[in-house]
Symmetry: C2
Subunit: 151 residues, 2 copies
DNA sequence: CCTAACACCTACAGTAGCTGTAAGTTCAAG
DNA sequence: CTTGAACTTACAGCTACTGTAGGTGTTAGG
């Protein structure tokens, strides 16, 4: 048994692109798997599990560095899980911050959209609000950095 | 009158980096401003207003392409503002989707974090949940694309 | 056994929206 | 006149992939 999968099957199993797997290998998140005679990667069940872990963590928004850390923690099952929990809590905090920020954004955008009654550009609240930050209630908005969005 | 600003002053006024302004010029969001004898950019008030518009729109999460569209709409004040409103509504919809997605993430992360009582990695719910998607309530989570996050 | 279709290989470029760096000019204060 | 900050261009790097080109391996049908 030791049913080994080609990269295409592995990608299918993990719900990602073939290139993504090669990318994970390249940055050292996945080991370089054994190859077939024709130089094609053959993934063992352990590799597939590791890949699933990575994809699940990614789906929860963990950055690759955090996943790297979680994976190496996972390799020492007898250690305290404090560090792992801290990573998860940090991620939770991050997501909560993002939500708050986006909710402020939503309020602002909603006001903008609702105040416009249609008509000429010259009278449009959308353009007006963007042109002038003064009447904007959201004094603290800064330019966001990229992060977890929608699927 | 006709007080023209150097790029450093303009950046200060807009709350962004000098390079950001040069970047906007490079991608055609800002015109190439007149230069001093020594080849340094001199920004007129109109340039500063345009830059403020861009930064404000960015702060509200509009992608640069949407901002580009909004700017060219702003150049025709007699036209209907329908298109501008559509862009703003699309952005609002986008933000709302992101919020929903992040709220689902938050629920999932919270459960994960709360279920761990501390102890060995081998028993850690954080690692366990990530290892196995089956007991995960969030069946629909996909890998997110990047987008508007926190400040 | 041969061939067509398809999966795989490497290597690299591109995405968004900046940000940082290097090597060289210009400007303003002292 | 000198010093140092601010400016110039040009290009590399960030995240986490995704797409493409040009070639090789595998497999099913005839
Ligand atoms: Zn309008
Ligand atoms: Zn505002
Ligand atoms: Zn734990
Ligand atoms: Zn899950």
């Amino acid at each position: 048994m030791a049913t080994r999968l080609t990269i295409g099957r592995a990608a299918e199993a993990a719900g990602c692109k073939v290139q993504t797997i090669r990318y994970y290998e390249q940055i050292g998140l996945l080991r370089r798997p054994p190859r077939s005679e024709g130089n094609q990667r053959l993934f063992a069940q352990e590799d597939i599990r590791r890949l699933a872990f990575i994809r699940h963590a990614r789906a929860l928004g963990f950055p690759l560095q955090a996943i790297r850390d979680l994976l190496s923690l996972g390799d020492e099952p007898e250690q305290s899980c404090e560090a792992a929990d801290a990573i998860a809590k940090a991620q939770l905090g991050d997501v909560e911050q993002r939500i708050e920020y986006l909710q402020a954004l939503r309020r602002e955008l909603k006001r903008m959209v609702e105040q416009c009654r249609g008509g000429r550009i010259a009278d449009c609240r959308v353009i007006e609000v963007l042109s002038d930050h003064a009447p904007c209630e959201m004094f603290n908005h800064a330019v966001p950095r990229s992060g977890v969005g929608s699927p």
